[in-house]
């Protein structure tokens, strides 16, 4: 394992230096640091070797498959990087005169437009910086809508038990009250049970479609109609949009508001944990409440639209993650209407194919017909002393990243698989063959799983110690 950059430091070494003669600041001592910061002293060649070496320790999309359900780890096109790196975009300051950022305003306008088309909604804001941020924004908009209608008592947000944890967390931060609704035996919403929970204090029904089991709610129009009947709104978590784009529009299914995850559906890179982007799309009755500023056409060009007085305030310092949604627009334009439809089609084909190949060894509780992802169970291997965690760790030995595990909570020892559309048939077969080998190993040599991984740069890490006695920084400069 490499040392930290701090261990490679030697006093007197320099890397990037722009002002060797800069004078000491003319300020009273009380304002100034009274000692060194404690940053490392290394050269540029050292820095390059250090971070390049670290990079080799990572799995990444350009290396091999990430079959992570609900993450849509599709290929990140390199042309998007070229677009985002154009100095005419990266060098823009957000406080610049509108006349000097017409190209950027055009990007915002066009992407808002394209996302409205994909979603079947009327208006879009690109401000939220991540999916969870989009959820929060959408819920704040819903709350403002009800406040404006004189219905502040509507605070209940109904969320299925299969939902991602960000859903109830976002509801709380938005000042609303999340409530769990249970899935039926078929993995979908129990509509009768839902109807019993609907009343005039329901603000929002928050659904992921297809749901986290990869199943489409076939009674969706009935569901959204029932919510509308009691005066509530329907929110769609767009995490799984990769199954739907070009096939059906959430707006047509009765949703009033939804968010997108550009870093999932629209190919922007995951970056080791961000930055993402979570635009929110709404029907016209919610448009006045969208946070601004938004962009509209003005003559031959664009301008920031005058702010609606009803709009909720901003959720981000400026316009959201412009550099990210620039990439998303490039992707959408590259694919076009035909490419978008083709992408969701292949995503579903690939997932169903894997479900077929794996479903005998890894039972899929809700059946093998899925959309772009499916949830299998590793429960049957418990008798060999093997858990889903061990299966995941053994996959790492074979060069794959593990699928999503232990989510959704409604399946025991859950394994959620989403291959995406950018994988070849050979890769799908290689992954399926490996999973079948691992199932065999579980029965015949379970220790190969429970002791896995053995072929990765490090083996299983002591999380108990990291949680009991966290070490957050490199030793050396003790502060407070």
């Amino acid at each position: 394992m490499p040392d930290t950059i701090y261990k490679k430091s030697r006093p007197g070494r320099h890397g990037f230096r722009v002002a060797p003669d800069a004078p000491k600041p003319d300020l009273p001592d009380e304002f100034l640091r009274d000692g060194p910061i404690g940053l490392p002293e290394v050269t540029e060649p050292q820095v390059m070797r250090h971070y390049v070496e670290l990079s080799t320790l990572n799995h990444h999309v350009d290396k091999d498959l990430y079959p992570l359900g609900s993450c849509t780890m599709k290929y990140n096109p390199k042309v998007n990087e070229e677009v985002a790196a154009l100095a005419g975009f990266s060098g823009l300051h957000p406080e610049q005169d509108e006349r000097d950022v017409q190209g950027a305003l055009g990007v915002i306008h066009d992407l808002e437009d394209q996302l409205a088309v994909v979603s079947g909604m009327d208006a879009v804001t690109l401000q939220p910086a991540a999916g969870a941020h989009g959820e929060l924004t959408g819920l704040i908009v819903a709350r403002a809508y009800f406040g404006n209608r004189g219905e502040p008592g509507r605070t209940r947000v109904l969320i299925p038990d299969s939902a991602h944890g960000t859903n109830p967390a976002s509801a709380k931060i938005a000042g609303l009250e999340p409530e769990t609704i249970h899935s039926g035996a078929d993995g979908r919403i129990d509509v009768a049970a839902l109807r019993e929970r609907l009343d005039n204090d329901v603000a929002v029904l928050m659904l992921t479609v297809p749901n986290t089991l990869g199943l489409f709610e076939d009674r969706i129009t009935e569901i959204t109609a029932a919510v509308h009947k009691v005066g509530g709104l329907c929110y769609m978590d767009g995490t799984n949009m990769n199954a739907l784009m070009g096939q059906v529009r959430p707006g047509d299914l009765g949703f009033d508001v939804m968010h997108f995850n550009l870093h999932k559906t629209f190919s922007t890179p995951h970056g080791g944990g961000g930055p993402g982007s979570g635009p929110v799309a709404v029907k016209s009755h919610l448009e006045p409440f969208l946070p601004g500023p938004r962009v509209q056409r003005a003559g031959d060009g664009f301008r920031f639209a005058p702010q609606s007085v009803l709009r909720v305030g901003p959720v981000h310092s400026f316009f959201g993650n412009f550099g990210i949604y620039l990439r998303a627009l490039a992707y959408i334009m590259r694919l076009g209407a035909d490419g978008i439809r083709h992408a969701s089609q292949v995503a579903c084909l690939n997932a169903n194919y894997l479900a077929r190949r794996l479903g005998d060894e890894y039972p899929i509780p809700y059946g093998q017909r899925c959309m772009h992802e499916f949830v299998a169970s590793g429960d049957r291997f418990r008798e060999y002393g093997v858990r889903t965690l061990d299966i995941a760790k053994r996959l790492l030995d074979y060069g794959f990243h593990a699928p999503t595990m232990y989510f959704p909570l409604v399946v025991q020892e859950a394994i959620m698989v989403e291959p995406t559309e950018t994988e070849t048939l050979e890769t799908l077969d290689r992954f399926a063959d490996t999973m079948l080998d691992i199932a065999r190993e579980a029965r015949e040599h379970p220790e190969r799983l429970t002791l896995a991984p053995t072929r990765t740069p490090v083996r299983r890490v002591d999380e108990t110690m990291a949680n009991r006695h966290p070490v957050i920084t490199a030793p050396g400069r003790e502060s407070t």
Binding site: Y406, N467, R468
Partner: protein
């Protein structure tokens, strides 16, 4: 171990009355600790706080889970096991003894009559 003076809740807390002092000590059972796995952190009420039977009074964390801790009986917290801050593993190693959570001055000792005794708890958890 003599568990004749201990009572148990359905949420796996135990409560042990201390003689005639009017106080009782509270913790979680070995069964619960086993289910949670390595305990990494315990969040407890402050000394002086009131707790109410059946309501949450804190949380207990393992690496990947967090669970509520419910007060078995009502009263005022008179002592908190400070050792758990640096050594949460005590809960795994010695859940009925060194891994205790709080000592409570009971406001209504009769509440304990409604709780399970050791045998009933073992039945519930399938340990008998």
């Amino acid at each position: 171990m003599d568990q004749s003076n201990i009572r148990f809740t359905k949420d796996h807390e135990w409560i042990r009355v201390d003689g005639d002092s009017g106080e009782a000590v509270v913790g979680i059972t070995d069964f619960a600790a086993g289910e949670l796995g390595d305990i990494v952190f315990v969040e407890l009420p402050d000394v002086g706080e009131s707790v109410t039977a059946g309501e949450t009074m804190g949380t207990i964390e393992a690496v990947k889970t967090v669970a509520d801790v419910y007060a078995p009986a009502s009263g005022k917290v008179v002592a908190v096991n400070e050792e758990l801050e640096d050594a949460p593993d005590r809960v795994n190693a010695s859940p009925f003894d060194e891994g205790w959570f709080v000592r409570v001055e009971l406001s209504d000792p009769e509440q304990l009559d409604a709780l399970m005794n050791a045998e009933a708890y073992r039945d519930m958890t399938g340990q008998s």
